[in-house]
Symmetry: C2
Subunit: 650 residues, 2 copies
């Protein structure tokens, strides 16, 4: 039975890591503590103190200390007549892969598959199609919906099993231990030899025939990715070879915990800046997630010590979170956003995520929303942190060299990756409309398209791997800690929230431009005008610019704490104004009108883009155009509402 278990929520349970103890101890509210002045601004000296105290060695020791917990595990047993067999587990190269407690590669939530229907031609399809997403059952119990949404996938209609089998690569790509590594294979580590997924997928993928896959699906395995079905005539396998997958999973309920620590705010305790990372890992998980957790612990140690010594208390409350069950579908953080929905919606200023802190030791990037008001916070922080490998440069300088874009307002600036649903920020951004960011030290985009580090989700993701190869000296971890702590303090301590609302003007203008250029002609026939959107975006731009002016004036003479609070409320609630829980009723967790999933390639409001894509397929269906009108209306309402949020209050 042990071999067939789905280890739902398993790995992280007992590993509480002392986070709760440390933060809880340091953050116990001190009675009769002197309250900070309601007009106190961010203290640059304190910022410097915190940055200097963040210690690479301590981060290293944090990481060394982490152990993963034993958990029952399932396995995948290929069967049938075999031309090529995928490895069933990692080769035991460093001793750690042979530990009997290592969870063998498996696909969480996958239905059990065996017998005659388990063979079919190989096809490649590494992402969900919208149609398939729609076929997921709607949630019936909101408080448990995350689990249900995810497990629904484990219970497809019986007649869908062969279809799913055709998507063998997807099965691997989306499995909970990602076997297919589209990322970079580092020469200094023999992962290409030892990892089961990479060798399997390389062997299979390089022999696949059919149309060439879209550019976005192409990876770094050194061959052209094709869609299938079947294999190349001249390849290793007969062209009509079938792929046989057997899955022996079974459903099992497991507990998982979120661990929280709060530093109560001195002036505005009802405003929350959240900082989190998950704690569960597939195997050793030294990089994913423990590199981020080591950074989180170090930041909480430094800030906690300052609080304990009475030297500092943030203006706003700071909440540290160690989430459970991220690997199984962001379950811990999503449950948290459901449980505390009301408070978070009313009071959360921002969410900072540091999951995989360091992908590679030379490079730098933050991740957030390109053109989101939080962008300026990350940039300000990155400008104050020396680059680990060259202290003449800052993290910002490095980032700017490695990955940049041109902004009409700011010129050339670092480019941020967008926030999808890859880590625990997802529910904060998409479900709650909370300004979010994700910070990591990662690849030089001018040199590689790598998306993930080579030992990701394998039994090779160990402390030794980090110490020897990924970040010797942990100086990149330290740079990430400094950047994240700097951003955290800016958000928690600045008198006026450091969110640059005009950055959204740029985003909205680019969305509008794309809609006009690409969708405009399509919309002529049914007589749909983008006029209301044009005027809404114009109104937003004016409102943002005017608010910017008012903030500058207020900064020079911040005499009234209530006036500061009123402006901060406008800034905090801007992201929330783009939320419309009625916008995408088929996507329970996606309410953000700007950042909901977009299947269309047109970089504009996702609801509008997707509806136009559908309508262009059935141009004679009035229902399809009604949906376009509805989505246009939703976009206009969101932008108008956001503008109203920024305009003078009375």
């Amino acid at each position: 039975m042990q071999w067939w278990k789905v280890t739902l929520l398993g790995v992280g349970l007992a590993a509480l890591f002392g986070l709760g103890i440390i933060v809880g101890h340091f953050a116990i509210p001190k009675k009769d503590e002197p309250t900070s002045s309601p007009l106190q601004d961010l203290d640059q000296e304190l910022l410097g103190t915190v940055m200097s105290q963040l210690d690479a060695n301590r981060i290293q020791e944090n990481l060394r200390w982490f152990k993963f917990d034993p958990a029952p595990f399932p396995t995948v047993n290929p069967g049938g007549t075999i031309l090529f067999s995928a490895r069933r587990s990692e080769e035991n190269l460093t001793g750690e892969q042979g530990d009997p407690e290592v969870v063998q590669p498996y696909a969480a939530y996958k239905p059990r598959i065996s017998g005659p229907c388990s063979s079919c031609p190989l096809m490649s399809s590494p992402i969900w199609t919208p149609k398939e997403s729609q076929q997921l059952s709607p949630p019936t119990n909101p408080s448990r919906v995350q689990g249900e949404l995810r497990t629904t996938w484990a219970q497809p209609e019986p007649d869908r099993v062969p279809t799913r089998l055709q998507q063998f690569l997807r099965l691997l790509c989306t499995s909970s231990r990602h076997h297919v590594l589209a990322g970079l294979a580092l020469p200094q580590f023999p992962v290409t030899r030892g990892a089961p997924g990479l060798t399997s997928s390389l062997c299979l993928l390089s022999n696949l025939r059919g149309p060439v896959a879209p550019a976005a699906w192409q990876g770094a395995l050194g061959c052209q990715y094709r869609l299938g079905p079947g294999f190349l005539d001249s390849g290793r396998f007969p062209p009509d070879s079938q792929v046989n997958v057997t899955v022996h999973n079974r459903v099992e309920l497991r507990n998982s915990s979120n661990v929280l620590g709060v530093i109560r705010g001195a002036v505005e305790p009802d405003r929350y800046v959240l900082y989190g990372n998950h704690r569960d890992s597939w195997v050793h998980g030294a990089v994913d997630p423990s590199s981020g957790t080591a950074v989180l612990l170090e930041i909480s140690r430094v800030l906690g010590t300052l609080v304990k010594k009475g030297k500092w208390r943030p203006r706003r409350s700071v909440v540290f979170a160690s989430w459970g069950a991220e690997e199984f579908g962001l379950i811990g953080s999503t449950e948290f956003t459901e449980e505390f929905f009301t408070k978070l919606q009313e009071r959360a200023v921002a969410y900072i995520n540091v999951d995989i802190a360091v992908f590679i030791h030379v490079g730098a990037t933050g991740r957030g929303l390109p053109g989101d008001p939080a962008q300026s916070v990350i940039f300000s922080a990155a400008k104050q942190v020396p680059a680990p490998e060259n202290s003449a440069l800052t993290v910002y300088d490095r980032w700017l060299r490695h990955s940049n874009r041109s902004s009409p307002a700011h010129g050339v600036i670092p480019s941020l990756g967008s926030l999808g649903s890859g880590s625990d920020y997802a529910a904060f951004l998409h479900f709650l409309g909370i300004t979010s960011m994700d910070i990591a030290y990662t690849y030089d985009r001018s040199k590689t398209s790598a998306r993930i580090y080579p030992t990701y989700h394998t039994a090779f993701d160990t402390f030794q791997y980090v110490e020897r190869f990924l970040d010797p000296g942990f100086i990149s971890h330290q740079a990430v800690a400094r950047t994240a702590a700097n951003a955290l303090l800016r958000l928690s301590d600045s008198l006026l929230l450091p969110l640059n609302v005009s950055d959204y003007s740029e985003t909205l203008r680019s969305f509008l431009q794309a809609a006009q250029d690409t969708l405009g002609p399509l919309l002529t026939q049914p007589g749909i005008s983008l006029g209301p959107l044009v005027s809404a975006v114009g109104r937003f731009e004016q409102a943002a610019a005017a608010l910017h002016q008012r903030i500058e004036t207020l900064k020079n003479n911040p005499s009234d704490p209530l006036k500061v609070r009123m402006v901060n409320d406008q800034l905090m609630l801007l992201e929330r104004a783009f939320l419309n829980p009625r916008a995408f009723p088929e996507k329970y967790y996606y309410s953000h009108v700007l950042w909901a999933p977009r299947t269309s390639s047109v970089p504009t409001f996702p609801g509008l883009a997707n509806a136009c894509e559908e309508a262009s397929k059935t141009p004679h269906d009035p229902e399809a155009w009604a949906k376009v009108r509805k989505q246009l209306s939703i976009a206009v309402m969101a932008v108008e509402g956001a503008a109203a949020t920024l305009e003078p209050v009375a």
Copy 2:
């Protein structure tokens, strides 16, 4: 063509009444005006000044001044072989009913009906069934959805027309000039003789056969209401007589305007107290809505004068609103809540509605949510206003005698009618979760079950009717003005919002009790436990009581404006915490988990009650029980979220 028009949004257009001018003039922000102290509380002296300045004569003159605008109008032409014909218009008894500009009785949004399908047996059914509500098409364009929802009714599937005809009484009851008056026929006015609806329905209803209608449907026409179909054997008509209705309506688009006036708040301009009434009327509309508008104008005159003289400016912003197109489905106010959704959601403290100000001159009541935190505001206001007919009593005393209930916390208190969708408060409460109240001088419930005054929606609703019969001397209007202005000032000027959150504890406890007593046994079989609801309500009660304590402490030493603001945010957002836009996806405008429409007779959470009612009909359908679980979960989440809103913030 004139005879067939549907006068959509017609009556109110040109009648702007000077409201905008008066309020706009008085409320122009004065630069360099001294800002009130951020810790200034409600000024009782000012409250007295305002109350004394509200002038019955001016209200009378306001009302005298109102004229309704000419509008094209449709008519109803009964046809076929006739045993009895309904009057097609009012008898011209006072001269005003014969004005050629009087809109003849008609049913707005009704489909055109004529020909063979227009006859059928008479049935009585004065309210919508849930099934029919569900058959309304979902809205496709949120910004215009109100119109669509309403007009959908005007475009039923062709095969539904006979069904609708069977509901002749409903057709009349829900028509836009309500012909069937279930209310009291006052002896001093010859409405029973002159009004077409009353004579028609009396004649038809008193002859109807079939089962006796439910108690809630019984009215004051002096006969037992029966459901039909067909007529009594011994009655005026042969038992199988059919009723013939012909409707000649056609769709026509009309413009309508909301008129707004704002008095900017001195300390917290980003907190809004709204006060509104509609302006459109069916005919002369002296009572509905102009009695309320006359009161609104007088309040805005008194407050505007104080602002103009520099003697007062409210702590929070006050917004006066004169809505258009209420009679056609609350369109003006609903469009307003859609257009300003974001700002209102973030910043609105409360909405006060005074529509029909005076139903009858001896009596008193407020309307709000029984057990809602706003109840205490209305009570406090009513205690400070002398009863118009006996100054030894207050409005509160009168109310307490006329209609009361027993409250566990407060003993015997006045009973509030509940807020459904009868006037413009609906969207504020149900769509936006804004604390709402409706104030009127109305019937002595110990003596009558009358729900409406006799000239309601007829051409007899004239100034002379109000002056001679309804409120000679306008002293009841004055009492309503004083009560409403008092409540307005309490909400706009109190340092701490005067909302008593513990009153919701009582409501939740009673909801829980009803669920346990009535639904508990039903839920045993599918194994659904009310335990989570029990603990959520307990948590709410504790949180409310603790907040009450903290508020008392803060009141004694309100040293920090930010602390006051934080508590006020908790109070303001409590009602919002009960909002769940995903709770009732089939009811676009209903998101309030406590006050959404309830078809079940069990006085508990409407979603839970309705789902249980359905499940009890199909106890073997697991889907039905899944819906019960979902609704229970929604109720628990709402109560937990509301408790979290009230609990200490960090």
